[in-house]
Symmetry: none
Subunit: 163 residues, 2 copies
DNA sequence: CGCGTGCGGGCAGAATTATGCAGCGAAGGC
DNA sequence: GCCTTCGCTGCATAATTCTGCCCGCACGCG
């Protein structure tokens, strides 16, 4: 839980965000095709990395090509891992307020973290809204908001837990 | 093209039905695994055939293994109600929370849907805030939020109850 | 009947995706 | 500071999936 980069050029989460956008709006048949597009966007990655990105993002592949998982359909599993990574990478502070949780991140980190937050499919998280450096998480109740805030803060703590 | 699919006896459709059942209830990681199970069920097929079956069935593959397609790839849109079209195209889920309604959409779908929601001029909708994949609709009351949520959900599924 | 057409499915090789391993740079501990 | 730990990514290669080609069966026709 140390590690992570700051802005080593195109960051991982940034890259994944791009991938998500691309997959959502275009028909992507394979990783080579995706790699080619990313390259034209100034992001160079090899197929191995894409394979890992796609797996971590929980992206599905069907006859039509890649497909993003239904928002709110496929909970946890790998989404949890992605969230863990995103929290470590971007979370600056987290504060509960009524049934909301205000999360601060470095500028530019809000979107990627929000995506991970959504992917995690946490039951108490009804939805998120990301700005440039702030995320507003809407939960079912004030109690849920406080619990989630503690949870996220804990996730950032260096503590080896089996997973 | 006259001869229509005959029935090569106890196969194809039945095999595919079995495959669907298996995929729905078990975690199937690859085709070899599926072939092995089918064999134990008395159905012998090679991997190539499974590849074709899965493709034709529209089965998706993700980090968790194979997955049946969600019954809901509404293609159409219609020119009458912009909101109806927007909902069909972008709405992923909708949940009321206090006097708010949290609407989830695929990444990038929030804005267009929010615009449609505003245009609809619903009396209970005080305003909307759209992020990348979430819209926060503010309503006058919790009751109004719940009613709106039901309304939107219904709009998405006029009458379908599949899977 | 013998022939042409179409579908399903096997085989083997091509194409695509997944993964073990190693190197690099960053963050902490001392 | 110097060393250790840890995450991220490329490379090479294994694993998995897709496809072209071909055969065999059933059917409808001449």
């Amino acid at each position: 839980m140390h590690a992570r980069a700051k802005l080593t050029a195109p960051t991982r989460e940034e890259r994944r965000t791009r991938i998500a956008e691309r997959v959502r709006s275009h028909r992507v048949q394979n990783q080579a095709e995706l790699a080619e597009w990313l390259r034209s966007e100034g992001i160079e990655v090899n197929q191995a990395t894409l394979s890992r990105d796609l797996r971590d993002m929980g992206v599905l592949k069907g006859p039509e090509g890649y497909e993003l998982p239904q928002a709110g359909a496929a909970p946890s599993a790998d989404g949890t891992l992605a969230l863990y990574a995103a929290v470590k990478n971007w979370l600056a502070s987290v504060t509960p307020a009524e049934n909301l949780v205000v999360v601060k991140t470095p500028v530019g980190g809000a979107s990627p973290l929000a995506v991970a937050l959504d992917s995690a499919g946490h039951a108490d998280v009804l939805g998120t809204i990301a700005g440039d450096d702030t995320i507003l998480i809407v939960t079912r109740s004030g109690a849920a908001a406080r619990a989630l805030a503690r949870e996220l803060a804990a996730l950032r703590e260096p503590r080896k837990k089996s997973k």
